[in-house]
């Protein structure tokens, strides 16, 4: 197990965005965080990464509580829908990731090739389309050196072919031992790509496990969509 989350909670005024959330993340797995819009997926990632303060709960690794500062060496979070450094070219954004965020320079060329970023290198990030920007964000995430990578909606804005290519690229990195924790609202994408799942609905974890484990839990057919509908 890479880390475990216990009792994580977050409120926005009267609304409980996360309530007593707990689950485990295993080293080298591709874990899918699935749930409908507004389930609290992004909030969960932001709390884990320490970019949003949580109201309660803790992360444990190796039998110890991992505070927010220490999490920075354990995981890196790639948010959805951002356009960082919009005036700067993609090439510089990748170099900055390596230089400032402590990324791995030896992966640069490989990531550029895997995500088909070659033609975008000279373009400012702010001028990219939604799908192109998503690929750049994934590139930034893949270049970082933390053992766990949390990606919010990795396939959002991508067409079918791109989604498949990127899934293959992510698989390569997962096969090398990198843990991927992906927030996905498209159940079909998640079913195709992830090893295990955490089901989140209204800020609560409704289930955790492989499709068959979840099917057993819910009594539904061993199909992620059916399991999701049964548990949420």
């Amino acid at each position: 197990m890479l880390f475990e989350v216990k009792g994580l909670s977050k409120r926005f005024g009267r609304i409980a965005a996360l309530a007593d959330v707990g689950f485990q993340v295993r080293a080298g797995e591709v874990l899918g965080l699935i749930g409908p819009n507004g389930a609290g997926k992004s909030t969960l990632f932001e709390c884990l990464a320490g970019v949003l303060p949580s109201d309660g709960g803790a992360m444990h690794a190796g039998g110890r509580i991992v505070d927010v500062r220490a999490r920075r060496s354990l995981l890196f979070y790639v948010p959805d829908g951002i356009a960082p450094w919009p005036e700067q070219p993609v090439r510089w954004a990748l170099d900055f990731t390596i230089g400032f965020l402590g990324g791995r320079a030896e992966l640069r060329e490989e990531v550029v090739e895997q995500l088909d970023l070659g033609e975008l290198l000279r373009q400012p990030v702010g001028t990219l389309s939604k799908g192109q920007r998503k690929r750049v964000l994934l590139g930034i995430g893949l270049l970082t050196s933390q053992p766990a990578l949390l990606i919010d909606e990795p396939f959002e804005g991508l067409d079918l072919r791109q989604a498949r290519d990127i899934a293959a690229a992510l698989r390569v990195h997962a096969a090398r031992g990198r843990t991927l924790f992906l927030s996905i609202h498209q159940i079909s994408d998640a079913a195709r790509f992830c090893d295990r799942f955490v089901l989140l609905s209204n800020g609560r974890v409704c289930g955790e496990g492989t499709v068959s484990e979840l099917a057993g839990l819910s009594g539904a057919e061993p199909n992620l969509e059916e399991v999701f509908l049964a548990l949420t």
Binding site: E46, L52, R72, I82, E87, Q88, G99, F100, L101
Partner: protein
């Protein structure tokens, strides 16, 4: 394999790039040329007229101090730009990361928000120094006309404008971090600036603590430096305010901290700053770097005044808005405070304008008290005040040192080439550089 450059240098690189692609900064540079040009050409023309150009009689003394006649008006363009344009550059650089979402990525690096805001401030100050190349080029132009330049007063003047820019950057950074949107930050920054003007106005009308507080506003700070005066309390208070602004910015820039914690930390910063400012007000060291010694009595008088050790009390029956009070302050008391730290000044008046107090028996009297003896005078000139003090202390007035009197540096030359430089070359250079640099960095 990691990058050989340190994360801080990468951050500096990033901030430099962000500044270079910032339209606000290029607009600031573009505006600086004509503004400085207008001030410089007007100042040189007036200086030449006072010096005897076009048949007018030659002037003498402080009227022909380049600091007062040329540099103060020329550099005043920097004050204008610092108030109205620099905040936008600073806000853009500070809030840009939050707007684009880059802050969420960068904050995961673990670098302290204080270091990150320090990097932004360093780059902004660098950007401001580039903008100050315009008034610096005016100095070179002036020297090429055969004009005199006294380095200590120019250094003081530059330092004053750098501190003023620092205050703007500190304020704008704090506002940009506290607020969600840059436009709100811009409105709040300008509101604070207008607030300091209102404070100056109230200080001029009400006097007392208001006047004291108004003495530490950016406008007052710049005015002192423009006269070649560097006061330790003013400099330290400005630095405390800059650090407080950057501290507040760091508190609100950091992600992952709840609002209550941020409010507590902000309150701590404000309390610490308030305590430091209060402590600084007790410091009275100052340096008159002007060539004309416009902020000081003649050296012979200063030596004589230093021999008087007892506390000197001055009670002036002059209303706040009475012009004689302003004369007394600028010509004598401001200079006296620098030499006699034990000086206590009290103003007495029933009204703020004093117009209807003129017929009162004691109005206009200035009472001096030293070692139990008292004397009264109505003179508001430096000579009149010194005469009263010497007679009260039983000290023989020193003989006037004719050689030490500042005679000024008359220069009756037109501002040749200034129009071309500031209205043509500088804007052209800025536009060309802006286009080239933006293309290079994109």
């Amino acid at each position: 394999m990691r990058s050989p450059r340190s994360p801080f240098l990468w951050l500096i690189d990033k901030e430099c790039r962000e500044l270079l692609v910032s339209r606000a900064w290029w607009v600031l540079l573009l505006g600086m040329g004509p503004l400085v040009g207008l001030s410089f050409i007007g100042a040189v023309r007036t200086y030449a007229e006072v010096s005897g150009l076009n048949g007018t009689s030659g002037g003498v003394g402080e009227a022909l101090s380049p600091l007062i006649g040329v540099w103060a008006p020329t550099f005043s363009a920097c004050e204008l730009v610092a108030v109205f344009l620099l905040p936008f550059v600073a806000i853009r650089l500070v809030s840009g990361d939050r707007q684009s979402g880059a802050l969420k990525l960068e904050s995961q690096q673990g670098m302290s928000p204080l270091v990150r805001i320090a990097a932004k401030s360093l780059v902004l100050m660098g950007g401001w120094l580039v903008a100050m190349l315009v008034p610096f080029s005016a100095i070179l132009l002036w020297i090429s006309y055969g004009g005199s330049a006294y380095p200590p007063e120019l250094v003081t003047l530059t330092a004053g404008h750098l501190l003023n820019a620092g205050l703007t950057i500190g304020l704008a950074a704090a506002m940009a971090s506290v607020t969600e949107h840059p436009s709100t930050a811009a409105i709040l920054t300008l509101s604070v600036t207008v607030g300091t003007w209102i404070l100056s106005f109230i200080g001029a009308v009400q006097g007392g603590w208001w006047e004291r507080a108004a003495g530490y506003t950016p406008a007052a700070l710049v005015a002192e430096f423009q006269h070649g005066l560097a006061r330790l309390d003013t400099v330290l208070i400005a630095m405390v305010l800059i650090l407080a602004g950057l501290g507040l910015s760091a508190v609100w820039m950091g992600l992952g901290t709840d609002v209550k914690q941020r409010v507590y930390r902000s309150a701590s910063v404000v309390l610490l700053a308030a305590g430091s400012i209060f402590a600084c007000t007790f410091l009275n060291a100052s340096w008159d770097t002007s060539e004309s010694r416009g902020n000081s009595f003649p050296e012979t008088d200063e030596r004589a005044l230093r021999q008087i050790h007892g506390p000197l009390r001055i009670t002036a029956h002059l209303a706040q808005e009475d012009p004689r009070r302003a004369d007394l302050e600028s010509r004598a008391l401001s200079k006296l405070r620098r030499v006699m730290p034990n000086l206590q000044v009290r103003y007495v008046s029933a009204t703020s304008i004093g117009l209807f107090e003129q017929t009162n028996a004691g109005y206009g009297e200035i009472w001096y008290e030293l070692g139990g003896r008292r004397t009264m005078s109505r003179a508001t000139t430096a000579e009149g005040v010194l005469e009263s003090i010497y007679s009260l202390a039983g000290v023989k007035p020193p003989a006037e040192d004719d050689e030490a009197v500042f005679r000024g540096h008359p220069l009756a030359r037109p501002a040749k080439g200034a129009g071309t430089l500031f209205y043509g070359v500088w804007p052209g250079l800025t536009l060309a550089s802006g286009l080239l640099v933006r293309r290079r960095f994109k």
